[in-house]
């Protein structure tokens, strides 16, 4: 459960946006609005990556725990962008291994199996040793999703995640993403321009002005 209680984001002293919302596990909250409304800034605030001149008031809670003052890397909030942003100095498998919490697997083989299992879930069996930039855009998007899930996040934020994909691919990746989030009961916030994203997400929609 991700709760946003009386969130106000300031640009310097000027309030940029205000909202309150609750997202249950497996639900997707959609935030829509024009450019400059502060959609991406909201996600950065939740992820703990808000930089000056922005600041935040209100409480962000995950499962009832206030996370406002927790460092970004300890929040367990995954974030995904329109680009897959796979690390190109690592293979596909290494990207995923990099995301997995340390010491969760008994040995290398168990870890490898876990990686392959994750990849198989999105129809990408056996590409663990491939170089990242040999993948197609759709494949990269799926690996990016898997990588986020491998870090076992307690909430996931998506910043216009499908806007770089062409139309044919978009629907497929979208349903894949949402069904994976639903299956793992992870609350998610998606920021988008695209009405179809909002409809496919199937959750509440907040329209910023």
């Amino acid at each position: 459960m991700l709760s946003l209680e009386n969130i106000v984001i300031y640009h310097d002293e000027r309030p940029l946006l205000q909202l309150s919302a609750e997202v249950a596990g497996g639900e997707v909250l959609t935030v829509m609005g024009p450019s400059g409304a502060g959609k991406s800034t909201l996600l950065q605030a939740i992820a703990g990556q808000l930089k000056a001149p922005f600041s935040i008031a209100g409480q962000i809670k995950i499962n009832g725990v206030v996370i406002n003052n927790i460092d970004a890397h300890l929040r367990k909030v995954g974030i995904m962008f329109q680009d897959a942003l796979l690390f190109e100095h690592m293979t596909v498998g290494e990207n995923i291994a990099f995301a997995m919490p340390a010491d969760r697997h008994k040995n290398k083989q168990v870890k490898r199996d876990a990686i392959n299992e994750l990849l198989a879930a999105v129809d990408l069996d056996g590409i663990a040793d491939r170089a990242v930039n040999t993948l197609s855009g759709g494949q990269q998007a799926r690996v990016s999703l898997i990588r986020t899930l491998a870090s076992q996040p307690e909430a996931v934020l998506l910043d216009e995640p499908f806007s770089q994909l062409d139309v044919a691919l978009r629907g497929q990746i979208r349903s894949w993403t949402f069904s994976q989030l639903k299956a793992r009961k992870i609350p998610a916030v998606v920021v988008t321009h695209d009405k179809d994203d909002a409809l496919a997400a199937g959750g509440n929609i907040i329209e910023l002005l």
Partner: protein, 616 residues
Amino acid sequence: MFTHVTLVARWCLLLVLCVPVLAGLVGVLFPALGYFPAIGANAFSTDVFATLFALPDVWKMMALSLFTGLGSTLLAVLAAFCILAAFYQSSLLGKIQGVLSPFLVFPHAAAAIALLFVLSPSGIFTAIGTRLSGYFSYAFTNLFVSETPLINETALPASTGAAILYDSIGFGVLLALSLKELPFIILMTLSVMSQPLVKKKLKGYVNVGAALGYSPIASFFKLVLPTIYSQIKLPILAVLVFATSNVEIPLILGPNSPSTLAVAIMHWFNHIDLSMRLLASSAAVVQVAVSAVAVLLFLSIERIVNYMGKRSLSKGNRYFADKAFRLCGFAVIALYIILICAVIYTMVAYSVAKQWNFPLLVPDGATLLHWKTAISALASPLINTLLLGLLVSTTALVLVIFTLESEQLKPAHAYASNIFSLSLFLPLLVPGVAFLYGLVWFQQLVFQNAVWFHTYIAHMVYVVPYVFLSMAVAYRKFDNRYAMVAQSLGKTPWQVFYHVKLPSLFNAIMVAWALGLAISFSQYLPTLLASGGTLPTITTEAVASVAGSSTRLTAVYVIMQAILPLIGFMIAWYIPVFAMRKRGGQTPMSDSLSNVSADPVRKKPKASIKTRTKRV
């Protein structure tokens, strides 16, 4: 924890940049005002300045410094803009960068010596000129006189075409300085133009310009230049200050009676009579004033150009002396290529020449003797140079990277970051001759015998700003969302830095490292002063050898000076390539192109950047 370490690094960097400069300025100010206890001068007064201004040549020296400095900078800026305007949209741009980059890492001392060789009355150009005129007169005589006299190679008339050196108004110095400054200005400008945001904006502007019917050159001067000028202003001012106070070039190529102020200061400081130190110190203070006047003059010229430019903007002229600028651009590039060829040929030929008499175009016999002599003589200077360079460049790089990291982890306020970027340019905006002597004075007060430490500090002052400029470009280009993603995957700031940023920026880091090496290798005055002459390096030896006996030995020194930084850049380029190959031929995330440094062997990474965001 890591955040704290980076903060400490930021403060260290600030201290390394500011303390030596400020201490140095104080250290010349006291003697300039007559306070120099070592020789029993304990009272403050302005007598020293009175003595200085009573010297017959002092005004001429100042004028000479001002003329060569300001003239060369204006010329270099103009020529740089010509080249950029002519080529900024051309596919030749990369090649031009390749031609100019070696000049950037070629030490000033070496460049001056090389020009001395090429342009001297017995240099290659005069030899060719004499040859040609010889052949013409031969053909001419042949036409009318049936009995052909044999031309005696050595009896040809000496040419007068080499008046460019040692001329009393410093024209040769001016040209040499411009030649050396131009590549720096071009590469700085290109690095600004290649910042992602600026690049996008400029592309739009140029497209709009083209749609409105403006020629590419007009677009450059009316749209591109006004947009980026504010960002290249500070580097240009640094170049200007450097040019007004440079020692190596006027020392080697300039007039002697009088010399430029900076050269005179050096002679006075090194005078056996310690009381000359007072004079030198006051002259150093005057040097700061001369540089300041040069900056003010430059800024007022900039104002005037800006005003005229504004007027020409609203006139709506679609062309901007297109042909002239294109021609100038090509001419300057041609000049560089000719000079580079002539320099390489002359240096290599001299370094293996047994004997090379004037109008001959090739030396008379080859020998490796000079190389053998040089290598045995240079063994310890070479080791000094390398050790110092590695030490300075590596620590500078660590400081700079941590500082950049701290700026991202804990951004300073706008005000503080302005102060910071100004302090970054402080060592470049205060003439070296002015503060280095004062610094030496302080250093002798504190640790008298720590020669390496003093030299290290003096080098750091000059290496850190360049390494910082070079790395900052790469950091700005780095897509910070990678760091955000890594953080959201639960990685600590250190892990993000070590596992994501360092590998992604590896190319750029290596290039910045090589640049640091090159800058350290090329330091003449800081090495000479801080070490008190006890730490000979390749550069100090090369300058010393100009006054020495063998031109052929000097040629070897110059070649060594040119090769050392190139080796650094080769290493910087090949290590990432090997590292890539090991991982199966992937391409790096961020390319290191168009850093300030612009490594001379860059060819490959260019294509790589496109693979990142394109999707199928």
